[in-house]
């Protein structure tokens, strides 16, 4: 195929690019296959059409922090998971609490995390999230010892299907719970 000319051809290119990507693609990246032959406005329009065409089908075109991606419809995921019997390891409560502190209170130092949790932070926990590229160091705090400041990354948002931190579930206050003690 020479350079795509018709809307149909452009959508096929776009669909193929997104279905093979394995990661979210930004608008800038999605323009590359067209080698300068597409306007951003057209691209947005085509993405929107593609999204609508796929509605109700096996995959859905969604927008996350770093861009657009096709993902399996949520209700199909349980069947896909059966393909690989080794289920992905779940994180320990300590790890999840640490991650939550970084996500909701960022940027934070290890000291901040320790103060909130009341216990020493296991360095392995930080390491595993760094390795997964969910958190990274965004600076040093201007206090004695200049401790590192940690924050969540774009990959964290992408992996949780979020466009921005504001889409994180809102924090609930203890007192709100108090009303329904039976929930415990």
């Amino acid at each position: 195929m020479s350079e795509p000319q018709t809307i149909a051809e452009m959508k096929q290119v776009l669909e193929a690019v997104l279905l093979t990507a394995g990661e979210p693609l930004s608008l800038e990246m999605l323009l590359r296959p067209f080698a300068g032959g597409m306007e951003r406005a057209t691209l947005r329009m085509l993405l929107d059409e593609l999204r609508q065409e796929w509605q109700g089908r096996s995959m859905e075109l969604v927008q996350v922090n770093s861009g657009w991606r096709f993902q399996a419809r949520a209700d199909l995921a349980p069947f896909i998971v059966r393909l690989n019997p080794e289920r992905p390891a779940r994180y320990s409560r300590a790890a999840l609490e640490t991650l939550a502190i970084i996500a909701y209170r960022q940027p934070v130092t290890r000291g901040d995390i320790e103060e909130i949790r009341g216990v020493v932070v296991n360095p392995n926990i930080m390491r595993q999230f760094m390795e997964r590229n969910w958190i990274d160091i965004v600076g040093q705090k201007e206090v004695p010892g200049r401790p590192s400041l940690y924050a969540t990354t774009k990959t964290f948002l992408d992996d949780f299907g979020l466009r921005s931190l504001s889409e994180l579930p809102p924090m609930q206050q203890f007192t709100e719970q108090e009303i329904q003690p039976d929930l415990l």
Binding site: G22, Y91, L96, A100, Y104, G118, D159, M171, Q172, P181
Partner: protein, 267 residues
């Protein structure tokens, strides 16, 4: 009230869904159970929930004695008790004693000694809940499966970029290392000569024998170019890359590549 555990606790391989109501817990089970706490704040929150205490008006005496009871059990079962637990004991006792002190009426209203503890407990509780909600979100590789179909990676010829400067730096480093080029200079004129040496050789590849005058386009090439051609031929001859032949004086002069079979000579 049986308190549901938000995590797996197994005793002798059996799932423990709730914490036993009676105070007596077999020491081994206690170990598993206490280890399930994430720290003193977690234990305190558990006690507050279990005994339905009001977090905004904590009865310090009651909470402190319950906390100490657990900590004592941990020591009895010779668990390695994290320092944080002991630190918290001290803090609870301190708050309790400060509350027992009569408040001097003349002073400004003092802050409730429990305020800091309450703030920390509330913050920790909020984070605990946030962690659970975070874990409940769909996650890539777990509930989110991203499309990643195959495509043929056609190797599009992509060559490394090279700039003038890089080429120059490379040549410079060659010169620096090669001692016999120590004083070598390559000027524009010499580059032209070398370029034309290649041109002449290229031509001699196609036409094995070229008459000398045919190499020059006297009409179109300016004098400088003709000179460069001439110098190129001389240099080629000097380096033994071409043979120049003439049968007799004033007859045409022929050029051929030095590697051309000798039989062609003098044709």
């Amino acid at each position: 009230m049986a308190v549901q555990l938000a995590f797996d606790v197994r005793i002798y391989g059996e799932q423990l869904d709730s914490i036993p109501q009676d105070l007596y817990i077999p020491p081994d089970a206690l170990a598993v159970y206490l280890e399930a706490f994430e720290g003193p704040l977690d234990l305190l929150l558990y006690l507050i929930r279990k005994h339905n205490l009001d977090i905004l008006d904590i009865p310090m005496a009651q909470l402190t004695s319950q906390y100490m009871e657990y900590v004592e059990k941990m020591r009895e079962s010779r668990l390695e008790l994290a320092a944080e637990y002991l630190l918290m004991s001290a803090m609870l006792i301190e708050i309790k004693s400060r509350m027992l002190l009569p408040k001097p009426e003349t002073l400004e209203q003092e802050e409730d000694p429990r305020a800091e503890l309450v703030r920390r407990l509330m913050e920790y509780e909020a984070i605990k809940l946030a962690a659970e909600r975070l874990d409940a979100l769909p996650q890539a590789g777990r509930e989110i499966q991203v499309a990643r179909a195959y495509y043929e990676h056609i190797a599009e010829a992509s060559w490394p970029e090279v700039s003038f400067d890089e080429l120059m730096v490379a040549w410079q480093s060659v010169l620096k290392r090669a001692s016999h080029f120590q004083h070598h200079r390559v000027g524009r004129a010499e580059l032209s000569v070398r370029e034309h040496m290649s041109l002449v050789l290229r031509r001699l590849q196609q036409e094995s024998l070229v008459e000398f005058t045919q190499l020059f386009d006297v009409v179109n090439d300016g004098m400088p170019k003709l000179v460069v051609y001439f110098l190129a031929i001389l240099e080629l001859a000097r380096e033994g890359l071409v043979r120049i032949t003439q049968q007799v004086a004033f007859s045409p002069i022929y050029l051929q590549a030095a590697d051309t079979p000798a039989t062609l000579q003098g044709t």
